[in-house]
């Protein structure tokens, strides 16, 4: 076997687009490869950023830790609140509520999965949510940081953040610039490809300046200026499974249930509405299918559901669910919305950016651009995104709602075979076989499957090998302990006030 030669190292990286994706990428590259590569980011103040995805999931802590960001400073700067999970309202049927919390449910017993044990004795021990600390604390609007002592119940708490994505980008901009990244203001007028191999050679701005680089990161959002327009990357359409193609977003004053430590996703006539509480305002949006709902009607429904007065004009977004067939083509890697779109029902937008960055770092190329590394990046990306896609489809498919044509459509649609098998196996005896590539681990699938009304018809026969009375007692002790732990946690709002309250002056300065 002849092997291609090892190429020269990449020296110049150009990031196009300064939204959440662009600045997360620039921050990570300047931190990890600072000194080895020169990072330049081109953005234009005339182009708005999307900034959906203000809710995150626990792996964001890993990203912040990789950068070495101080949590309190970051929370102050982005006016962040804590997040323990997502409350789903009206999904299975009108009036129904469940929480998809972070962390796990209960403890396995004698190597038998907890949800199997619970399924057998559930009538005697109460809802499964009582066995997840994040869910119980969320219901009571409480929050505390996990206890470092692994013997404590509080050590099992997992959390993430709600934050202002615009402020997060600004915060990371300061971070990246402090580590040598250069920001260029301007709009791209032209992309020049190399004649011999079609690689991107340079970008030319409207003012005539030209920027060359070895590696280009396309963070230009839905427009996909490089991966799509310049390199002709194909888009794989998933709208037959995920028909929502519009969103209207609007922030409002804090009100209603106040600063909840959870995101709320409320199913509506032709889609769903989000509610994301920040320190200074609440983010809201309605994600819907334009085939089933008019824009005016969507806006009216969104405004009618606001907690308080609107704080800005509505922002309308159009999209198509799907992914870029290849997120990495030649010397261009698409990160963020340029690489695909999944509605932010499970707060995965920022995570998929992070996953792209992590993979890029692990497979960071040299100038030979070994096709093997590109293949591996694309293989992993496809696998991860498709598993997330299935998880999101589950929310729409597993419903009893038949009150609108939209819900009739999604309830009866064909779904990917892999997801159908997963649902059927769980519906039978609560069996789950997770892929190692799945961002959502077993507890997440259990929470949403059960939350959406798929309670296994039977439990694992192995549970019968455990004496029932002792099981019931043990589970009651478990939920009591979790309940007491939650009770002892402070109120979320009070905790924020003490821990990381944003001050007007502090909010804009990076760490």
């Amino acid at each position: 076997m002849t092997l291609p030669p090892v190429g020269d190292p990449i020296r110049r990286v150009l990031v196009l687009g300064g939204g959440t994706a662009g600045w997360m990428t620039a921050a990570a590259l300047s931190k990890v490869l600072g000194g080895q590569v020169e990072v330049t980011l081109i953005e234009s103040e005339q182009i708005g950023t999307v900034g959906v995805g203000e809710a995150t999931i626990p792996p964001i802590l890993t990203f912040n830790a990789m950068l070495g960001i101080d949590e309190r400073a970051f929370m102050r700067a982005t006016r962040a609140s804590f997040k323990l999970g997502i409350e789903f309202r009206d999904w299975t049927r009108l009036g129904d509520r469940y929480i998809h919390p972070f962390g796990t449910f209960g403890l396995d017993i004698e190597a038998i999965k907890f949800h199997q044990v619970w399924r057998k004795v559930r009538d005697q021990v109460g809802p499964i949510e009582d066995f997840n600390l994040a869910a119980v604390a969320a219901r009571q609007n409480r929050f505390a940081l996990p206890d470092p002592d692994p013997a404590k119940v509080l050590s099992s708490l997992k959390y993430a953040f709600h934050f202002d994505a615009g402020l997060y980008a600004r915060f990371l901009r300061g971070f990246a610039e402090a580590r040598g990244a250069t920001r260029i203001e301007g709009k791209v007028a032209d992309v020049t490809l190399r004649g011999e191999d079609g690689f991107i050679q340079s970008l030319t701005l409207e003012d005539g300046r030209t920027f060359e680089a070895d590696l280009f990161i396309d963070c230009s959002g839905f427009r996909a200026l490089l991966i799509g327009q310049a390199l002709g990357g194909r888009y794989v359409d998933w709208s037959h499974w995920l028909p929502n193609d519009r969103a209207v977003a609007i922030p409002c004053d804090t009100g209603g249930d106040g600063l909840t430590p959870y995101t709320r996703a409320t199913a509506d006539k032709a889609g769903w509405r989000w509610r994301i509480p920040l320190q200074h305002r609440t983010g809201n949006g309605y994600v819907y299918s334009s085939a089933h709902l008019g824009d005016d009607e969507a806006l009216a429904a969104l405004i009618a559901g606001l907690d308080g007065p609107a704080r800005a004009e509505p922002n309308v977004l159009r999209f198509q669910a799907g992914r870029r067939d290849q997120a990495w083509i030649k010397n261009c890697v698409a990160i963020g919305l340029s690489s695909g779109f999944l509605e932010p029902l499970e707060s995965t937008s920022i995570h998929l950016i992070q996953a792209g960055i992590t993979k890029l770092l692990a497979l960071f190329p040299d100038k030979s651009f070994d096709p093997l590394e590109i293949d591996e990046y694309n293989r992993l990306t496809a696998q991860q995104v498709e598993l997330v896609r299935d998880f999101i489809i589950l929310h729409f498919k597993a419903t009893e709602r038949s009150d609108t044509p939209y819900w009739n459509h999604v309830r009866t649609m064909q779904i990917p075979e892999s997801l159908q098998r997963k649902i059927d196996l769980f519906a039978g005896r609560g069996r789950l076989f997770s892929s190692d590539y799945d961002l959502f681990a077993e507890p997440s699938w259990i929470a949403v499957l059960m939350g959406q009304g798929i309670v296994p018809r039977q439990y694992d026969a192995l549970v019968d090998s455990l004496p029932e009375a002792a099981l019931v007692q043990r589970l009651r002790r478990m939920s009591a302990l979790i309940g007491q732990t939650a009770q002892a946690m402070p109120d979320h709002q009070a905790f924020i006030a003490r821990y990381c309250a944003a001050e007007a002056a502090a909010a804009h300065s990076p760490a």
Binding site: V32, M66, L372, E376, L425, G428, R431, F433, S435, S465
Partner: protein, 481 residues
């Protein structure tokens, strides 16, 4: 509970596959479910097992006390495997990950980087299990995460007949008899209605587990197709015999590549079990016996797997489901995986087609990944005898080719779902067999070279010290008995 639970299970065959199934099911099935075992002569246990640390988890499940098991099964400890004559020089793949992550980058990247400057020593020098194994020393892992001894894990070498005896005792309530299968009676829908034995007894059950070597039951089902893997894995015979043991046998399984195939030596208490794997088309059985000094038991081997190990009310476990040349030191792993998944997917009396589909998918993937590891050892070998040259010409399966290419490119290990071997095991096998990445992860370069060298030297010294302070394997075995 809407559906009828399983009322009866019949296991046909026996041996390690049959009795592992029996012991586990006896433990987990409700007392009302009858478990019967019919032991056929051809399934009798032979030779020795070289197992992975994961098997010890199975022993916990079925309630086998390790010290007692080791006495009954003439057990010794296993810290890894030594491969000699495959690629030069020989190497040990130990049961503890080499080195440690430095600065968030996997250790082997630091090793690759240091190696370019000639400062690194062998990769295995950073695995405590490998270093201790070579020295013939053994100690159990430490529970203290700060101790380098906490990086150890170990497997067992077991005499198959002794292992079956221990499993039989653990399977208490299983009703066993010996017998030969005369006929497999089928219902009109293709399910097995009953198995009729030579003496006329009719065995009926809700679920039949086929642990016969030839797959007598599964062969009778409508979709028993066998996927052959003999092109890439050429051996179709195993010659077994036992030789006198050494004064202090290393806690390692030793694999030596020879012209006829490969020789395996498994240390047991009171003797070493030796196996020659060979291809009958190239080496007659008599010649194989000659290689082992004139005497040996010959066992047939058919590399491959069933397309569906579970069909209707019949589930094949062990050789009836899949066979793989035992050159990974992962004996009984396929059985353990099959039993574990059967328990996870336990059918009802009226069958569970969906569970069978999932079982077959999982077992097929698991086998294919372990097969990849075995094939890797052939494609990487440098011998040029006909058997070796032929196996190399067959080329690797696509999944392995991709995994190898990724590793060669920059030391990345592609892990698919259902891998038996973890990342560290693949790195150890690749590097040990001389497959070296062209580049290391660039992130390793963030650590200044002198600091990295110092850290590596410190680690090597620490591991050597720790290994030297362990008792000899022979002494460790005395403590266990």
């Amino acid at each position: 509970m809407s559906r009828s639970p399983l009322n009866s299970v019949a296991i046909l065959g026996g041996g390690v596959a049959g009795w592992m199934s029996a012991a586990a099911l006896a433990r987990v099935l409700p007392p009302a479910c009858a478990i019967r075992m019919v032991e056929t002569a051809d399934a009798a246990p032979r030779g020795a097992l070289s197992t992975l640390p994961a098997l010890r988890g199975f022993h916990g499940l079925v309630g086998l006390d390790e010290a007692a098991l080791m006495r009954v099964a003439r057990g010794t400890f296993k810290l890894g495997a030594r491969y000699d004559g495959w690629t030069d020089p020989d190497h040990v793949e130990g049961f503890s990950d080499a080195g440690a992550n430095l600065d968030g980058v996997a250790f082997h990247h630091h090793w690759l980087r240091a190696r370019q400057r000639g400062e690194a020593g062998r990769y295995e020098d950073y695995s405590l299990a490998a270093v201790a194994g070579r020295m013939g020393r053994f100690a159990p892992p430490s529970e203290d995460p700060r101790s380098v001894l906490s990086t150890l894990s170990y497997g067992l070498h077991l005499d198959a007949a002794g292992y079956v005896a221990a499993l039989r005792a653990a399977a208490g309530r299983v009703q066993a008899r010996t017998g030969e299968i005369a006929e497999v009676a089928q219902a009109p829908d293709g399910a097995i209605a009953a198995v009729i034995l030579a003496d006329g007894e009719r065995i009926a059950a809700d679920l039949f587990i086929d642990t016969t070597p030839e797959g007598r039951l599964i062969e009778a089902t409508p979709d028993a197709a066998w996927i052959d893997e003999s092109t890439a894995l050429p051996c179709d015979r195993l010659a077994l015999r036992e030789v006198a043991s050494r004064a202090n046998p290393p806690p390692l399984t030793e694999f030596e590549a020879v012209a006829e195939g490969w020789l395996r030596r498994v240390p047991l208490r009171g003797g070493d079990a030796v196996t020659l794997a060979y291809a009958s088309g190239l080496t007659p059985d008599d010649a194989a016996r000659e290689c082992l000094g004139g005497e040996a038991t010959i066992v047939r081997l058919r590399n491959g797997r069933r397309e569906r190990a579970w069909s209707g009310n019949c589930l094949a476990i062990g050789p009836a489901a899949s066979q793989l040349e035992p050159l990974n030191g992962d004996d009984a792993q396929g059985i353990q995986g099959g039993v574990g998944r059967l328990i996870a997917l336990l059918p009802t009396a009226d069958g569970s087609p969906l569970a069978a589909v999932e079982y077959n998918r999982l077992m097929a993937e698991t086998f294919d990944r372990a097969r990849d590891m075995a094939v890797l050892r052939y494609v990487a070998a440098t011998r040029t005898d006909p058997l070796w040259a032929g196996a190399r010409r067959a080329g690797p399966p696509a999944a392995l080719a991709y995994k190898r290419a990724q590793f060669e490119s920059r030391g990345r290990v592609v892990l698919y779902d259902e891998e038996t071997f973890v990342e560290g095991a693949w790195v150890g096998a690749f590097l040990g067999h001389g497959i070296t990445p062209r580049r290391h992860d660039r992130l390793a370069d963030r650590l200044p070279a002198d600091q990295a060298d110092a850290a590596l030297a410190r680690l090597r010294g620490l591991i050597r010290q720790a290994a030297l302070s362990m008792p000899t394997h022979a002494d460790a075995l005395k403590d266990r008995s």
